[in-house]
Symmetry: C2
Subunit: 673 residues, 2 copies
């Protein structure tokens, strides 16, 4: 029942894929609409695909792999300028623009202008300041970014070193990056593009340190783009990916800005240097949470590209023989290939339902804040989003790495697109809160919750399972078939997290009671704390996926196939951490054997729908950016075709032949030594 789209480019299908598609047991449009968020949104996305991918500027994403950094940067600026102009023309909402960002793989310059510069102004500037700068920003008279991270400090904000010293005589702040470690390093769009930046700097008045505050700083002349006096700015260099972005550095040497350029909504400095503050700004934390919430979705977006490519290519690629007499099977028919890919496919769906639920929780929290001024949910959502951002990035890297190697040698080509996805996911691990640091945030929250349980206080919803005594738990799996029971699986996940949390809490308590200083007791248990954050986050993912598939309003066929994926996600996670589950006696020797067997059965169940399940993501070839994963499956033709655009092939004889190879072959080179 799988539908195919009507795009011309999708007509000539590889026969293997045609057969795979005709074998699907469900209608892929049902899943596509769930993922887009409704039929109207699917329609909008498809319209945008038409608008964008008819334009040569956005077509053939894979060709970006042939460009130099400078060409890539220039292309991204051209794209950014086009998208900004179209945004102005069509008056797209922020939500609509997010769809477009995803379609073009975020590959456009100056994206922080809308995602960080303008929102930060709105959040941190006074009404007067907003009246001055917002119109300039929204009309592109100035182009801005947000400069916080320094060479010496990232996640640990208290360590930032850039200073803004108030001079009451001239009513100015003097900005400095006193050491090498103080220079701003990493902010996106800073190196070559932005004219302005919101700079986070330590405020100093009369020698007193008031901590980090935001300042509006003009970096470059609006006439000729030259950096202003006292400002050194540039690109930090090539990265694993995102090389279209001019992540920049910024050195400041006695740069004077008017007092009014400190953003004063939450803290003020008067002309005579008096400091006032309206207290800690919780809204800032909410914004920080939003970034992490979004990142869990980005991991899904990235991983679905890798798994789409790997599954389609595995259906097209034939290799080796199972049986001497038979033909070479599709590699997707090997159990080992299924064991690599189907758990990643299941994880990709798990990420979607988790991130959707996380965004819904975040939205409820924001409503609470807006309507009732209540920040009650903030601590819990913060703890959940930290752990899930961390876990997502790990699942993403592992999954993309598996997809890369599952595509064999050809997966190593940049035009396979998976290497790019892997590089992008690597950035998610460390950006916006380093993995270990965010896991420890979650773990600290869990330690507080379990402390509540021990004194009979009420815990938050995400930690309700802590109310159960693990001593009273016995594994609910009585037969192999029970391994498909999602209620049982959820209980097993809860028990494992509960046991691990209690065990580290009790070790911490014993250490502290026996006189170990708290920070040493903490450091001695740091790894266990990371482990409980992971266990807790994995539990949430299984619970979210289960809740989603048991409440979907769609056809039974679609529910059935998504349920298999949910089961596989849960069982595979248990197998991955079999030690954890056995050590906490969440499963026993017999059960783990059943789980491994049933996991393999699920591979067979999923096999006929594998291609349809990636088709359901409905990624346009120009978004996918992979020649191995193209919808029509004409992989070998595309690979060969791509060599024509490879700059290395622009000359039949490379110039280095004349410089080096010819003199070597003539003996000239050796006689010169």
């Amino acid at each position: 029942m799988a539908n195919t789209t009507t795009d011309d480019s999708r007509k000539e299908n590889n026969q293997d894929l045609t057969l795979e598609r005709s074998n699907a047991s469900f209608n892929i449009n049902e899943i596509t609409e769930i993922i887009d968020g409704g039929v109207d949104k699917t329609k909008f996305r498809k319209e945008m695909e038409k608008l964008l991918f008819d334009d040569p500027l956005f077509k053939d994403f894979y060709k970006t792999f042939f460009k130099t950094r400078s060409e890539l940067y220039e292309e991204s600026i051209a794209r950014g300028v086009k998208l900004f102009s179209l945004r102005q023309k069509y008056k797209w909402t922020d939500e609509q623009f997010e769809v477009i960002e995803d379609l073009v793989n975020h590959l456009f310059g100056m994206s922080l202008h809308f995602t960080m510069f303008i929102p930060s102004l709105e959040r941190l500037a006074t009404e007067t300041q907003k009246a001055k700068w917002l119109p300039l920003a929204t009309n592109f008279k100035i182009l801005g970014t947000y400069a916080q991270t320094e060479m010496g400090h990232g996640t640990y904000l208290q360590g930032l070193e850039t200073t803004a010293t108030y001079d009451p005589v001239t009513e100015e702040f003097i900005l400095n990056t006193p050491h090498k470690s103080s220079m701003k390093w990493w902010p996106g769009s800073l190196g070559k593009s932005s004219t302005h930046a919101l700079v986070q700097a330590v405020l100093i008045i009369n020698g007193k340190n008031y901590g980090m505050h935001p300042f509006m700083l003009q970096l470059r002349s609006l006439d000729n783009h030259m950096p202003l006096p006292g400002i050194e700015v540039g690109d930090i260099g090539p990265k694993m990916t995102v090389n279209y972005n001019d992540n920049g550095f910024l050195l400041l040497k006695n740069v004077r800005i008017p007092r009014q350029h400190m953003l004063m909504k939450h803290a003020q400095v008067s002309s005579d240097g008096k400091y006032t503050s309206s207290g800690p700004n919780k809204a800032i934390y909410a914004t920080m949470v939003l970034v992490r919430v979004k990142m869990t979705k980005w991991v899904h977006d990235a991983l679905r590209k890798a798994i789409t490519t790997a599954v389609r290519y595995s259906a097209v690629r034939h290799q080796s023989k199972m049986d001497d007499s038979g033909p070479e099977p599709q590699i997707l028919d090997y159990q080992t290939q299924q064991y690599k890919l189907f758990p990643v496919l299941a994880d990709t769906y798990a990420l979607f339902f988790m991130s959707r639920n996380l965004r819904r929780q975040y939205n409820r929290m924001m409503e609470d804040i807006r309507n009732k001024g209540s920040y009650k949910m903030l601590a819990e959502i913060h703890s959940i989003s930290c752990g899930l951002k961390g876990l997502s990035s790990k699942i993403g890297i592992d999954g993309a790495s598996i997809c890369r190697t599952a595509c064999g040698g050809h997966g190593y080509l940049m035009v396979a697109g998976i290497s790019e996805v892997l590089g992008l996911l690597h950035s998610v691990v460390t950006a916006e809160g380093e993995y270990t640091v965010v896991c420890l945030q979650t773990a600290r929250y869990l330690m507080k919750q379990i402390a509540k349980v021990s004194v009979g206080e009420v815990v938050t919803e995400s930690c309700e399972y802590l109310n159960v005594d693990p001593q009273s738990f016995s594994c609910p799996l009585q037969t192999p078939a029970d391994c498909f029971n999602l209620t049982f699986l959820c209980d097993i996940f809860r028990n494992r997290a509960n046991s691990l949390i209690r065990s580290v809490a009790s070790r911490l308590q014993i250490a502290i009671e026996s006189g170990t200083p708290q920070h040493i007791a903490m450091n001695n248990n740091l790894q266990s704390l990371v482990r409980v954050a992971e266990a807790h986050s994995e539990t949430i993912m299984v619970l979210d996926f289960t809740a989603a598939v048991t409440s979907l309003r769609t056809s039974p066929e679609t529910i059935k196939v998504l349920t298999s994926l949910c089961q596989l996600h849960a069982l595979h996670t248990i197998v991955k951490h079999a030690g954890d589950f056995m050590e906490t006696e969440s499963v026993g020797l017999e059960q783990i054997k059943w789980i491994r067997e049933q996991e393999l059965k699920l591979l067979e169940i999923i096999r006929p729908n594998a291609v349809a399940l990636v088709d359901a993501f409905d990624l346009h070839d120009d978004s996918l950016g992979s020649l191995l994963g193209v919808y029509d499956g004409n992989v070998y033709e595309r690979l060969y075709e791509s060599t024509k655009y490879n700059p290395m092939n622009q000359n039949v004889v490379h110039p280095s032949y004349h410089k080096y190879l010819k003199p070597l072959m003539s003996g000239e080179m050796i006689s010169k030594l």
Copy 2:
């Protein structure tokens, strides 16, 4: 007691590193000499470092990250030509040249000329053919590569499609790549550099297929380097790494070559088209084994770069606080950072001792072949090298990925060097035998060995543990301290592998006895077979490392610190696969708890020697190619300095400002829409 070298570049050390080095409990030179293979070899290496890195062509490896592909290729050709000329001048042996290849990170063009083209000629050509081509090759009159892999087939050689059809009228072979999938795709140095290739093609005489045979084919004119008629050749495009290499494609359309261009040592075609063969060529398999043996060492070489960088950087980087009152600690003091890095450090040493032993076994086998004509050891060494090549690549990727993320944001910069290492290791997984395929080779061998046990036959040395009945095993760990007993740990590894092997063998037997066709029974157990290959290979690594540290002739301090690493390698591997070890009852609930505790204790034991243990690899900064891992620890200064060489900073204002940003800011862009 750690020694520092006397290089000028190493004088101004970061104070943290100076202190770390003075705290080491052992003399690093002792380990350096073990790794180099003796004091003379250390001396030779250091002389070569001086020779190479005084030459601007080989200095500052990190600057390669700023180059375009075409520049990188050209630089690699310049380097290759220089190295070939020096090789000629100094008459370096193959073994000496291997040292040099490692020092320059294999970053030079035409390397297959010496590693594949000439050795294959020596192995496959007749004496007459050798007399003709070898002098041309060794004097660089022709430049050659080896072309086997095709677009449609890699590891599965029987699937190759390129044809060489004999024409007895003209006494020529006609070479063709009949389909897109048949074109050669991947061979190194093929795209732009080589004048000749040894092409593997299916021999056809009178319509009969004689399977794969090697042919000498001239690709390009020796006058002007233009491809010859019927030959289309080019570069396949950018890859995850090794972008200096012109991995190529080759299409052949009725290319005629003289009969004498088939390499006829092992099989012959007479002028009238009669085929003769001297039987299967076991020497070819031995060569294939050698490549995999070498690859296990390359993984060590690559991983030691990543771990050197991550450990040094973690000693230099200070971040966050454990205790509100204290300073920001070195990140290496956090338990979580140690838990990331020290197991990788231990794995890196484990890889060294394993690969050294594997090479020694290989050499013994070759002596047997040369002296006695006995291929007795071939099957066993083949099975060991398959599994260890697979396992190494996995340990390498996981380890490099950990090092990358452990360096936070800065680790994401290309000049950190780890991304390059990670990319390189990704190639090891799929090149020269895809991971799953090689694991299954090992597993099939294990199945044969266990079958021997069941009928009372003698098994080979690497499988001797199969003679024990797992039923008779009880975990030898009686106290937490027993977890440091390497003899006990080796037994635990043996039992886990033994149990897993027996269990899959018995499942296979039951399936086949109950009538399941063998190939289906195999496919249903494929994943379990991969698992037993991994378990067997992990056992060999622990056994090799243990044998090495218990037989070293060096100071007690050095033995002590290497023993700690060996213990950590073993315990961490158990923790990683805790499920496996518990499911096979190799350890129980209590023991796994002890193992986790003792693993954390080892982190504290290793901490004071961590920097010295990476210093002992004695990597020259120009080999390391990482600005985060530089010996002097002046990381921030180097990062800032590197921006001066970044092409993106060659103009203060990027040209795209005038093309796109200025028109956007002036409103011109939007009015044009």
